[in-house]
Structure formats: C-alpha cells, structure tokens
C-alpha cells in the first residue's frame, strides 16, 4: 500500500469521519446526498434545532456540529468507495 495519500479518481467519492463526530462526504452522488440530508435532519431533530444545511456543490457535512476546536486529523480517517452513478450518462440520466 502506498504511503502517499489516496488521490480521488473520477467516479470516486470520499468519506471523512472527523474527531468531533461529523461525517464529511466529498463528491457524493445523489444517493449519498440523500443520506447526508437524512442524517442532518435527524441530528437537528435531536437537538431541537432548525435544520441548517451545509450541503454544497460537491461536498456535504452531516450531521452539522460545528466546533471551536478544529479536528486534529483532516484526512487520515477516510474510506474510498466507488460511486455507482457518479459518471455522466449512467443511472441518473437514463
């Protein structure tokens, strides 16, 4: 296994689990976006807060739990999985 950080390829997405409990989804497909949205909504329900979304163009945070103490690890705890429909012209557009 290479000691260099994995570099995402087209069609990959990236998950990061931060030490403060947040899950970061980078370059997610539509299914992952729905998961992030659901997690975010559940978390906000638990806190009794309004849902404040931080989903954006290529990345999602879920659940939202901002902290004053930045996590020490920013890229260590991650998994790379193959996205099924991230490429153009596949499931979503057929």
């Amino acid at each position: 296994m290479s000691d260099k950080p994995y570099k995402r390829e087209q069609g990959d997405f990236e998950l990061r689990i931060l030490s403060d409990g947040r899950l970061v989804m980078i370059a997610p497909d539509e299914t992952l976006m729905e998961i992030a949205k659901t997690l975010d909504a559940c978390h906000c329900d638990e806190r009794g807060d309004e849902a404040i979304s931080t989903l954006s163009m290529g990345d999602c945070f879920a659940p939202l739990a901002m902290t004053d103490k930045p996590p020490e690890n920013t890229g260590v705890e991650q998994q790379h999985l193959e996205s099924e429909d991230a490429e153009a012209g596949t499931a979503d557009s057929q």
Partner: protein, 302 residues
C-alpha cells in the same frame, strides 16, 4: 417540499425520494432562449479562445486545449436533484460541466477538472430529457455548474436553447471570465449564483492560481447585477478572515449593497495542500463572518 421516503422496495430515483410530482405549471409566457446565431457567435470564440483571462488563444474548435483542458465540446459529468442549495433555489437540478479555468487547491471536484476530456461529451438530447424529468420531480430550476460552466459556453447555450423557454436558469460561476462571456450570456440567465472567493491578490494567486481573480470577479459581478438576479456566495476559509472574508464583505457593502449574500461554511481541507488551510472552519469564524455581514447591512440568505 417533497417528502423523502427511504423504501428498500424502490429503486433509482424513486428510492431517493425523487418522485414524479406531476406536470408543473408552465410559465405565463415562454422565456426567450438563445437562437442559432447566439450559439454560433459563442462557437466562433473557440477558434482563438479568449473566453477567460487566461487568454490562451488556442483553437479549441480544432481540438487544441488551453488552461481549462477542454476542446470545443461540452463534457458533463453529473446531473442530480440537489436539496440544499440556497432556499429560494431548492430543489435545484444541478448539471455539472467538467473543466475549469481556476485551480483552487481545495476544489472538491478536482478530479473532474484536471482531466475533463476523460468525461463523456455532453449528450444534448439526453440532458434535455433529464431537465424535463427533474422538473417533474420538483426542480425549480436548472443549475449550471462545474468546474466552470462558462468555459463550455457554446454547449451551455445549446442546452439553454432547448430548455430555457420553460425552465428557470441558474448560472453557478466562479466569475473568472472575460467581458465577452457576459455579453454572450446576457438575456439567457435568470439567477447568477456567483462565487467571490478571495479578497486579495496574494491569496488568489496562492489558492486559485489566478492573481487577477479578485479584480476580474468584482468587475463581472457588477455586470451580472445588471441583468440577473444576483446571489453572491463567499466560502469562509479558515484563517482568512482579515485577508479574504472581511474585504469581500466590505466591498459588497460598498459596491453591491442590495445583492443577496450567501456565506458558506463547508470548506473541506485538501489532503495535500501548499497554501490552502489544513483545518475546517470553526463556529467562531462563522459567527464572526456572519456578524460582520450583518453589521455592514448585507442581505444574508441561507
């Protein structure tokens, strides 16, 4: 707002809650859309491409590639229904164009922009069908982003020729383009969802590989404000309050005080970075930026 159902018995769009919600009402009268002459005019620019301030001057129509890495065709790598754009735009049908004229160190879709020609060429008929399907699923607009959509301008206009009559169009741009792009887009864009990324030449050079970004983007924001419903997005970068966020907000308050401003807190540090912050944005940074924007009287939206 549509409810989301997670039902294992369903597949595809349906399982994701993207159900057909029926035929949405058509606009009272068809919106104007680009004609063949407009598309041809944009296409001519590709023979000596100076669409953006990189001014590469290459013949993209003949297959040459400049900084953005694109030939003369548009390449789309994803389309989806997005539930968390700014509230007034959501749900939004996002169409991602590969290729970009910036090299943001923290780009979250870098892999698509570094090698845009590895992405399939845009299938216009298929994309038009997708726009119609997403509209039936509740999309309020078609949202063109990337990468940077304006480097694929002829392809963008060809898509708008087919869909704009019945669909609100959002252009999500980094605003790094030459004035000719504003002229070519004028009249065809309803909402300009515009990035304003940095507040200094030094940061723009280090983070975006574009020292002139701030000046160019600010000029283009003024022009976009003349003919679109302008929303300015600013991504809060950790540790860049004094050099980027504060000057950006103060410029907006002075020059475009009426525009809607969307502060974004979803910075993702890259695994490897020379200049980009290596930490996530903190709640105190978000609060400080929000407070400053409010103190300046800016129209913050979520």
């Amino acid at each position: 707002m549509m409810s989301i159902e997670h039902n294992r018995g369903k597949t595809g769009d349906e399982a994701r809650g993207a159900r057909d919600v029926g035929i949405p009402p058509l606009p009272p009268r068809p919106r104007p859309f680009p004609d063949a002459a407009a598309i041809e005019s944009a296409t001519k620019h590709l023979s000596c491409c100076r669409l953006c301030p990189r001014d590469c001057g290459v013949n993209r129509a003949a297959g040459q590639r400049g900084y953005c890495g694109l030939d003369g065709k548009a390449h789309c790598f994803r389309e989806l229904l997005h539930w968390a754009e700014e509230a007034e735009l959501t749900p939004s049908h996002q169409v991602y164009f590969a290729g970009c004229n910036l090299r943001c160190e923290y780009c979250t879709v870098l892999e698509w922009n570094e090698r845009p020609l590895a992405v399939a060429e845009m299938d216009l008929d298929e994309l038009v069908r997708a726009v119609d399907r997403r509209r039936r699923q509740g999309a309020r607009n078609v949202n063109l982003l990337g990468g940077e959509p304006t480097v694929s301008l002829p392809g963008v206009l060809a898509l708008l020729q087919r869909v704009r009559a019945t669909t609100q169009v959002v252009l999500n741009s980094n605003m790094y383009y030459n004035e000719c792009v504003d002229s070519l887009l004028r009249g065809w864009i309803d909402v300009c969802l515009a990035d304003l990324k940095c507040g200094s030449r030094a940061c723009a050079a280090a983070l975006l590989d574009a020292e002139d970004y701030v000046d160019v983007a600010r000029r283009n924001l003024r022009m976009a404000d003349e003919h679109t419903d302008l929303i300015v997005r600013h991504l809060i970068l950790p540790g860049h309050m004094d050099c980027c966020t504060r000057p950006t907000l103060e410029w907006l308050a002075a020059e475009l005080p009426q525009v809607k401003v969307s502060l974004r807190a979803n910075y993702v540090p890259p695994i490897e970075a020379d200049s980009a912050p290596k930490q996530y944005v903190t709640s105190s940074e978000i609060e400080a930026a929000t407070r400053h924007a409010r103190d300046l009287g800016l129209r913050l939206i979520q």
